[in-house]
Every structure is written in structure tokens, then in C-alpha cells.
Symmetry: C2
């Protein structure tokens, strides 16, 4: 079956490109002696997580308990949930999961640490905890190395301190390096061993070997790559494994063609770029306007005709695959399989 037979809009995953992306990152990590722990937020598909582990990844990373539960059900047995888990229900689900797999979770506050301590004791289970550090990203994370030491020392019993975790802002590798060096020195001074130093982010994936003490890296987007990664030099357009197939449904004027992919397909993510995607077969066109189910292509001439199909490399692959219950695996233009996005919608 050819992609021309698929209903549009739909998401295509080029498995050859995806496998090459997985292999390239794994080879890089192997060369530099750190582990990969890919973030499944990008694909949310257990079969793809298995491909990553079979290629050599140490385990996987999830952002949500619900995602981790789906992955554990599919046999993935070494999972980091890189998120503060807060509240009785989530802690109960966490300890249930910790009985089934090797689980690691994250904390950046005494509130979170005390929850983990109580949960480990109440359920009589053990799991690893990484202290999340704000090394310049300005999101979660302790603000100083001293706070990291304090939280590490506050962990008790089955809630075991394992190391440090950061999600650095793209391009701030120097700031992150200084922060982590100071933190490792602070831990050394207190004789608390740091087994894991975990960083992430595909934009700076290829600089991961320069991170002080790095033991594992959590790239997500690298599995598919996208227009934003091409923009920052982390990939080429030919590495992009996820594309959206859309049909031209209207061409009101020669300089305007409307496709059946809008924000409910491509999302509104701009990530600092102009336009909502790149169309390799029509690179001069700008995808400038999106409403929920329409995308407007503009060019002075040369736009596709009504009924023609276009493949779009979206700005941000992770949020696009999250819009669809199913993606299509392709090799070139040949459709190999339809794959459920099993962990989509596991929002909590």
C-alpha cells in the first residue's frame, strides 16, 4: 500500500530514518561512555521504546505516571519519571509501579522528598530519586547546589538518592556545566556519592559528552527530529522521520492553497520560527496561517492544486504525534503498518 491510499491528515513515521536516528545517537553515547535513556514523550509508542532499548539504551524516560504504566505493561522495566510526583493518588500509583520495575523519580523540593519517603515506607518498596537542578532552564529544579545536598540528605529508607537531573535550556551548556561542577564538588565535600548525572534535550544532544560527570542523557525528539532541530543544527531535513500528510482542499487564489491540517494536527508551536512547517516538495511556500482544521499555504506561484497531497515536516514532532491515536509506519512511500500511539492521552 502506498501513502496515497491513507486518509488525510495523518502522521507518517519513516522507520528507516527513525532507526538511523536511534542508531546515530546510541553510537555517539557509546563512543563517549555515557548511557542513553530516551524520553518517550515524543513517540509514546512501546514498540519504539523497545527499539531504543534494543539499540542499547539503558532504559527510558517518561514525563507522566500514566505513560510509565503503559510502557511497563509492554515490558519496559527500567523507567525514569522525570517529574515531581505530588499527592496521595500519584504516590500510590508510583509505589505500585516500583514493585514491578526499576523505577526512578525526580524531586526538587522537601515537599516532594517527604512524599517519597512516606510512600516508600508505607508500601515497603524502594526506588531511586534524582534531585532536579535548575541549571539555567528556569523551570523546575533546586536553585543552588546546597539545596540539592539538603534534599539528597533528606531522602530516607526505600527512597534512595541516586544523583542529579537537569533539563537545561537549549544553548546554555556552559551555564549548566558550571552549575553541575559546583554541585558535584558540594556532594564530594559531604561524602554523598552521586551515581547518576542525567541531562537531556535533543538540541544539545551532540554536546552531551562535555557535561561534567554525565552518566546518562535523555533525548526525546531525536527519534523523529523536526524542523526546530534542523533550525538549531541538531539534524538535517533528511533526518526528519515524522511528517504530516495533508490534502489541498481549496485554492481560492493562485497565491493561496488551503490544506486539511491546522492546529489540531500541527499545533500552534512556533518554537521561535516563522511558519508552522516545511514542505520539502514545495519549499518556497510558507505555511503561514493555521486555524483548527485548515492550514494556509502561500506563495506567489507554484502552489499545489486541489486534491494534491503534501508532506509537511512540522516545527515540533512531539506535540504532533500527541494529537493522533494512530500513526502510519512507512518506508519511503510504502505503508508498512498502522501503529497505535498507546501512551497518548495518559495525561496524569
Amino acid at each position: 500500500m502506498n501513502i496515497d491510499s491513507l486518509p488525510t491528515p495523518c502522521v507518517l513515521i519513516d522507520v528507516d530514518r527513525m532507526k538511523a536516528n536511534i542508531g546515530r545517537a546510541q553510537a555517539y553515547a557509546d563512543q563517549h561512555g555515557f548511557s542513553l535513556r530516551p524520553h518517550i514523550k515524543t513517540h509514546k509508542i512501546p514498540a519504539f521504546a523497545r527499539l531504543q532499548v534494543e539499540a542499547g539504551a539503558k532504559g527510558i524516560t517518561c514525563q507522566k505516571l500514566g505513560e510509565a504504566e503503559v510502557m511497563a505493561d509492554a515490558g519496559l522495566d527500567d523507567i525514569l519519571i522525570s517529574y515531581n510526583l505530588i499527592g496521595f493518588d500519584k504516590l500510590a500509583r508510583m509505589t505500585t509501579l516500583a514493585r514491578r520495575i526499576k523505577l526512578t523519580v525526580a524531586a526538587d523540593s522537601l515537599h516532594t522528598v517527604e512524599g517519597y519517603n512516606r510512600a516508600a515506607e508505607a508500601a515497603d518498596v524502594s526506588f531511586d530519586v534524582l534531585i532536579e537542578c535548575d541549571t539555567g532552564g528556569g523551570r523546575c529544579g533546586v536553585q543552588t547546589p546546597e539545596e540539592a545536598v539538603t534534599l539528597a540528605q533528606a531522602l530516607r529508607g526505600g527512597a534512595r538518592f541516586a544523583g542529579l537531573m537537569t533539563y537545561p535550556a537549549a544553548g546554555k551548556t556552559a551555564e549548566m556545566a558550571a552549575w553541575l561542577s559546583a554541585a558535584l564538588a558540594a556532594f564530594k565535600a559531604t561524602d554523598v556519592p552521586v551515581r547518576v548525572v542525567s541531562a537531556g534535550g535533543t538540541p544539545d544532544l551532540w554536546k552531551a559528552h562535555t557535561i561534567p560527570g554525565v552518566t546518562e542523557y535523555r533525548p526525546g525528539t531525536y527519534v523523529y527530529m523536526d524542523r526546530s532541530q534542523v533550525a538549531v543544527g541538531a539534524a538535517s531535513m533528511d533526518d526528519c522521520a515524522l511528517s504530516v500528510l495533508a490534502t489541498v482542499v481549496s485554492k481560492p487564489r493562485p497565491d493561496r492553497a488551503v490544506i486539511d491540517a491546522g492546529t489540531k494536527t500541527l499545533t500552534s508551536d512556533l518554537l521561535g520560527m516563522e511558519g508552522f512547517g516545511h514542505i520539502p516538495a514545495c519549499p518556497h511556500a510558507t505555511l503561514s496561517g493555521l486555524s483548527e482544521e485548515h492550514g494556509v499555504l502561500r506563495a506567489e506561484s507554484g502552489l499545489p492544486e486541489i486534491g494534491e497531497r503534501v508532506r509537511i515536516i512540522p516545527n515540533h514532532a512531539c506535540v504532533v504525534s500527541n494529537m493522533f491515536d494512530t500513526v502510519y509506519l512507512v518506508s519511503g512511500e510504502r505503508v508498512l503498518d498502522a501503529m497505535p500511539v498507546a501512551a497518548r492521552g495518559r495525561v496524569s
Copy 2:
């Protein structure tokens, strides 16, 4: 059960506010003698479509065949798909649907019209067709009244011309009025009767009675309302029926709190506004930064603590409900029911 027991992030639908929104719009339409044909893109829930019809709506509007199929399965029997349906598969599904319900579809090109003509003849079914007009929105739609007449005259057999449809740009009601007046005059001159004049859009809902010849209006967002509708004066914050419930998971500094709702909950839709939502209980906070599963609240002081929950009125309700497989019906803080978003994911 109270909303405090729900896992976060989740979507709450205040049914009292929703019913008031439905009633208010229906009363306005009744007063001015035009029909409502609500667009279900906002809720994607058959039970809510039934509420709209029971309140007096003539039928419903869908953007996708898949949505219409779900609604037809649930007993909704008068559906407009306000979209050019292109390609063999979609036309085959369209004629199947036309056998089951009173179906209306849209066209803005000879390509689409000829597809409808062939499909009606091949399947021996009939359905209504509205000619979509670009009255200033700059998306789909014929560019001149003369083109509208030409397409109306090109419809044959079971593909019956019924009237005109527009989705005007918000705030361009005068431009739309001039366009439609000219079109109605052109049709009058050719003796082709125009039974339906269909417009839409919640921002200008309360001006619908001023549209020349309007017979029906297709508001979508009005059922929930949202921050963008408040911004343009179409609603008040107290009308907003959809909110996102989120938990503070981190507070790295007194001026920064991080919640478990990011772009995979709220989306990146800004719709011209600053920030990604309004928090009634913490109105001085800005929801300024979103990543996929984190939202960053900023204020000099007075931010909620870790473990506390916040309710967020999002910028754009339609895209938020599309992220969730289930929403929770509430009355105040009481949870009444969990409701599947049955037509979510019906992307084609």
C-alpha cells in the same frame, strides 16, 4: 465527589454555565428569527450536541467526516460538514452518511462540486451543498459572488444547491455584510433561490442578526467560552464553562510556581493574548511559560504552594478539550460525571 479527588491535569466542564451559554445563544437566535447550528468542534461530545438540539438548535456542524459519523451514530440527524470533502474515500463515506441523515456539505471550487455531483449520481443519494464564500477571512471560499453563482449552477442531481456559507474573520462583520449583500443580489438576478445563508464564529455571535439574509449561525466556542472570547467582549469570565485543573508541582523560588499543565494540556494557542490562561483564584499571576508538561506561573508574591491546585481558564477552549479523552462534568466543585470526548481523534 469533589474536584479535589480528580487526577490532574484534567478538564472540568461546569454544566450550569454550559447550559446557560446554550440557552443564552438560543434565546438570542430565537429573538431574531434565525437558526442555530452549533459547531461541535469545541466539545466533540454527542450528549452535548443533543443538549444544543434539545434547546432549539436546528442541527449541528462538524468539521470532519469522522466527527459527523460519531454524531450520527449517537442519533444526531441533521449535520452540516462545513468543509470541502475531497477524494474518493471521503466522498464514499459522505454518501454513506447521506443515506442515514440529512446531510449538508460545503464547496468552494469546481473540483469539489464535480466530486459531489459524481458521488451523488454514483450512490444515488441526495444532500445539500453550501457554497463557501471568502467574505474577508482569507481562508477557504470563492472570491467573488459571480464564482458563487457559477458553482451553484454547476451542482447537479442529488447534489443540491442550498445556499451560502461563510466563516468571517472576527471583527469584519461590515466587510462580510457587503459581500453577502452583493452575492444575494447576484443570485436574485439569476433566479437561483438561496435557501440558506450560514455564518459562524463566537466572537461576533451577538451581531449575527445584522448579517444580510442570515438564516443560520454556527457558533462553536460559545458552549464553553474561554479567555479569548472574554478578551473580545463576547463573554465574561463567569460564563467560562471549561477550566483546566492543575497541581503546583514545584516552587523553585517565591516568584515562580510550576504546574502540571503545559502545551499538551493548554496548547500553545495565544490568539493574540499575553500568557496561556487566566487563573481566577490568582489573577495577578502570569502563566508565561509552557513546555510540554509544565506551566510556569510568575508573580512577585502570592503564588500557590506545592500541592495546591489551580483552575485555569484557557485561551482557547476548543483545542484544550481536543487534548483529552475524557472531561469531567462538574457543578461548582462537585463532580457529576466523567464524559468521553467521543469524537476526539476523528481527524479525517
